[in-house]
């Protein structure tokens, strides 16, 4: 029978040398490590303050783990112990079972649930336990690749961390809308929500945070198949929506979502769209014409076939405060759209184009003519249609560019007196273009990237030297036509400038 008791109480692991008592006592004093975890836990939760607990966490890894599993409501102050003792006294003579008063019972009950969730977590990666440590102060919870943590666990966290400000869930397949709803209800301070690759989180979550979290300013959703137009709509259309940053990536949402954003996103300053396959030109057009995005300052669009000439122009017209635009892998965007956009976007300061192969010098000139004076940073990375070779210049009919602009970098030199950063990586820019830049007296460039420009040779050395007077950063990586001796010389002479080669 004893064996059964021992097994049931989990005590069989207690080392036996202890019990042989005094014989060993002299040589090997008993260590506190003989205490089972639940006893150490009892000790730790009676440490008076956070400082003492953190000191103990430095003792060993096991102690850190145990301390991490203590929740705020499990911390015992001396007062609590006294009340327990009082109640204990009030039922004297009765069997030990009655010693645990109701309050204590509840405590123990909730301990167990929490401890379970935390245990699982420690097994998977231990990140959560660190977050829970001292969680009265900790306001960010990130759960990455945690398959074992389910709704119940997150529900406990929601209860225990009412001050949570940022929630970041990535690859948590066991978490569903129910848990996010609990977070939304219990954590009114939530300002940032990031959800990535969570197959069971859907529209309900967005609706809940939209209606409960008044302070929510940033939402990022990526690869969640259950999130659709309904979720985005309820998130944005809820009263008091203070959302300023919205990132939507690899979702199945349609034009409807963009229409809602264009209409209700009155506080939005930052938009990121990526891989929205079901959004068409119509979506971007409606978003621009919704006239709601008056505060929008920055937009990044990657791999969206909807960002066509018509779509981009509408965005430019609808967002008068747009300062930064970043377009990547937009296969349908051509010069006409870019120029029309540049005319509409009166505040544009930073323009980044990457892998937009239909953009040529024409579009580039158009941007410079319309926004050149305000541009601070211009980047055309890996846009294969962009060259400075006069012979390959396309017919001028596509856009009204003065004939003086036979070379895009000449155009840059003449038009952009405020330009500080220029990125023309992987383009067909040649020595001539660099020379044009160097000769522009009013230009005050600080960062230039010419990486992967195969038409730049050692002949550019004197021009780069000249540009180097104001440069703090120069990227000439993968320029195989620049010899190493030239690079060495540049590094030696332009000692103030960071050179990537």
């Amino acid at each position: 029978m004893w064996t059964i008791f021992l097994l049931a109480r989990g005590l069989v692991s207690v080392p036996l040398f202890l019990f042989s008592g005094e014989i060993f006592e002299e040589q090997q004093p008993p260590s506190i490590e003989v205490l089972p975890d639940e006893c150490l836990f009892e000790v730790f939760r009676r440490l008076p303050g956070g400082e003492e607990r953190s000191t103990c966490a430095c003792v060993s890894k096991k102690w850190l783990m145990l301390l991490s599993s203590i929740c705020g409501d499990e911390i015992c102050t001396k007062k609590a112990t006294q009340t327990l003792e009082t109640e204990e006294k009030s039922t004297p003579g009765k069997a030990g079972e009655n010693l645990a008063c109701n309050k204590k019972d509840e405590l123990v009950g909730s301990n167990e649930v929490e401890a379970e969730a935390v245990d699982q977590e420690i097994e998977s990666d231990g990140y959560l336990s660190r977050c829970l440590e001292g969680k009265k102060l900790q306001m960010v919870l990130s759960l990455w690749n945690v398959s074992s943590l389910g709704d119940e666990g997150l529900y406990e966290i929601a209860k225990g961390c009412p001050l949570l400000e940022k929630l970041d869930l990535c690859q948590c397949p066991a978490i569903s809308d129910k848990a996010v709803l609990a977070i939304a209800k219990n954590c009114p301070n939530l300002t940032s929500l990031t959800i990535e690759s969570c197959p069971n989180i859907g529209n309900g979550s967005l609706q809940a945070v939209g209606s409960c979290c008044r302070n929510l300013t940033s939402v990022s959703i990526k690869k969640c198949p259950l999130v659709g137009d309904q979720g985005i709509a309820s998130l944005l259309s809820s009263a008091n929506c203070s959302l300023t940053t919205l990132k939507l990536q690899a979702l199945t949402i349609s034009d409807v979502s963009l229409a809602v954003i264009g209409h209700y996103g009155k506080a939005v300053t930052n938009l990121v769209f990526s891989g929205l396959e079901n959004v068409s030109e119509r979506g971007f057009w409606v978003m621009g014409n919704g006239q709601g995005l008056q505060k929008l300052r920055s937009i990044t669009v990657t791999l969206c076939q909807g960002i066509t000439d018509v779509g981009l122009e509408a965005v430019g017209k609808g967002c008068p405060n747009l300062k930064k635009v970043c377009l990547r892998k937009c296969a349908f965007l051509s010069d006409n759209g870019l120029v029309a956009f540049a005319k509409a976007a009166v505040s544009l300061e930073i323009l980044q184009l990457e892998d937009c192969h239909r953009i040529t010098q024409c579009g580039f000139f158009g941007v410079l003519v319309n926004c050149g004076e305000k541009l601070k940073s211009l980047s055309l990375a890996n846009c294969l249609g962009f060259k400075d070779l006069v012979v390959k210049f396309p017919p001028m009919a596509c856009c009204p560019v003065p004939s003086i602009f036979i070379n895009p970098l000449v155009a840059v030199a003449e038009n952009c007196s405020f330009l500080r950063e220029l990125d023309v990586s992987k383009s067909a820019i040649s020595d001539f273009g660099v020379a044009a830049l160097a000769c522009a007296a009013q230009l005050n460039l600080q960062i230039i990237s010419l990486s992967g420009c195969f038409f730049i040779s050692d002949k550019s050395l004197p021009y780069l030297m000249k540009l180097g007077r104001t440069l703090v950063g120069l990227n000439i990586q993968n320029c195989s036509t620049i010899s190493s001796s030239t690079v060495d010389l540049l590094v030696e002479r332009l000692w103030r400038c960071d050179i990537l080669s």
């Binding site: 019990f19 006294k89 010693l99 001292g134």
Partner: protein, 166 residues
């Protein structure tokens, strides 16, 4: 089954039922009133399930510790003891060296006596609280399994976390 001893007790007060607890480490035996011993949930469960013989063997607890446990149980089984008296008595029981305290925690945990576990845990916590972590390791015999880098990282993390903590 649970109420049987109580009824008996009420009916014939002088013939109190007693239990004998025997430490298996040094074979010391203690005869205690049943209602005193029943403060241990473990023993209560044994009695309730009829697997307690005349002598109850206690396998992991030395006689010295068992005596302290029984003292605690006697104090708390006395209905006339005031709260202050109990506190003083508890303080006396736990005023021991750290190794005795560790054994006491083990005993309280094994016998499932919540109150004793609480006062002993509190006592250990009190003796830990003012020590720097190196001293805690030394006094309590904890092996440091951190690498120096890890320890620095943990310390830095906690410094940050508890900045401005009251």
């Amino acid at each position: 089954m649970a109420s049987a001893p109580e009824n008996e007790k009420n009916a014939s007060a002088p013939e109190k039922k007693t239990l004998t607890l025997k430490s298996m480490i040094n074979n010391e035996e203690f005869v205690v009133d049943e209602h005193v011993a029943l403060q241990s949930v473990t023993i209560k469960n044994m009695v309730d399930s009829d697997c307690a013989g005349d002598v109850i063997p206690v396998p992991t607890i030395s006689g010295e510790i068992l005596a302290l446990v029984i003292e605690y149980c006697k104090n708390h089984a006395n209905p006339s003891a005031s709260e202050d008296d109990l506190k003083k008595a508890d303080a006396g029981i736990v005023a021991k060296d750290i190794y005795t305290l560790i054994d006491l925690v083990l005993a309280a945990n094994f016998l499932d006596i919540k109150g004793l576990l609480e006062v002993t845990s509190q006592k250990i916590a009190d003796s830990i609280k003012d020590l720097p972590h190196q001293d805690v390791r030394e006094i309590f015999g904890v092996e440091n399994d951190y690498t120096p880098e890890e320890e620095a990282a943990v310390r830095a993390e906690h410094d940050w976390a508890f900045e401005g903590f009251p």
